[in-house]
């Protein structure tokens, strides 16, 4: 397994940022700032990158900047991955899981007491009572954003 320097740097940066941010309290201006800043930076970078890809004639299917879509693991001519477009057949298992999760979350949200019927937010809130867990979740959130919009 090869891990790029960029990935190591991103994990280290997210970890450090998450650790510092986890010390702040919710519903305070400092916490709003430490969440809003990466959101704004990432949104700007993602939009700028998209503009560059478009003006440079970038083929988003075989995006050369990511090098991940259209990788050798994708079977050429696969009936479920024609031109990288999801079909009902290939997307059905994911749709079923999303529906299951939505139903579970909805049922718990409408039930009470919350402690007996925890929603995902409630579980996350409970887990984040401890500083290290809060730091890990914050770092994970940042890394997900990095992987989705910058990588």
């Amino acid at each position: 397994v090869r891990v790029s320097l960029a990935t190591v740097a991103a994990v280290a940066a997210a970890g450090a940022y998450g650790w510092e941010a986890a010390g702040l309290r919710p519903f305070t201006v400092p916490m709003e700032v430490v969440v809003a800043v990466p959101e704004a930076l990432l949104a700007a970078a993602a939009w700028r990158r998209r503009g560059r890809n478009r003006s440079g004639g970038g083929n988003l299917e075989g995006n050369t900047s990511t090098g991940r879509v259209g990788t050798p693991t994708m079977k050429a001519g696969s009936p479920t991955m024609k031109a990288g477009t999801p079909t009902m057949k290939s997307g059905a298992p994911w749709l079923v899981l999303v529906a299951m999760l939505a139903a579970l979350e909805g049922a718990n949200y409408l039930s009470s007491p919350r402690a007996a019927h925890p929603t995902l937010s409630y579980i996350a809130s409970e887990a984040m009572a401890a500083h290290p867990a809060r730091a890990v979740l914050m770092a994970l959130w940042l890394l997900v954003g990095w992987a989705m919009f910058l990588r």
């Binding site: 941010a21 309290r25 919710p26 519903f27 916490m31 709003e32 430490v34 969440v35 990466p38 959101e39 990432l42 949104a43 993602a46 939009w47 998209r50 988003l60 299917e61 995006n63 990511t66 991940r68 879509v69 693991t73 994708m74 079977k75 696969s78 479920t80 991955m81 990288g84 477009t85 999801p86 290939s90 997307g91 298992p93 994911w94 899981l97 299951m100 999760l101 579970l104 718990n108 039930s111 402690a115 007996a116 019927h117 925890p118 995902l120 937010s121 579980i123 996350a124 809130s125 409970e126 984040m128 009572a129 809060r134 979740l137 914050m138 959130w141 997900v144 954003g145 989705m148 919009f149």
Partner: protein
Amino acid sequence: VSSRELTYAAYALVALAVFVLQVACALRGTLTLGRIWHWMARSSAGLLGGLLLWAWLGWHLFVRGAVHP
């Protein structure tokens, strides 16, 4: 078995199913979550939707998330 334990077990089952499906799709070269996202991000609406969802999640969890004692 309490409702709480059942709920946790149900979430764990869904998470396990997501993991298994993701690994299976990656091994078979079919539709992984990454590929779904790349397909969505090809359009401005998809990219904007993803950005808004990610931003909302951060705000919801860290800024507006209640702190349990």
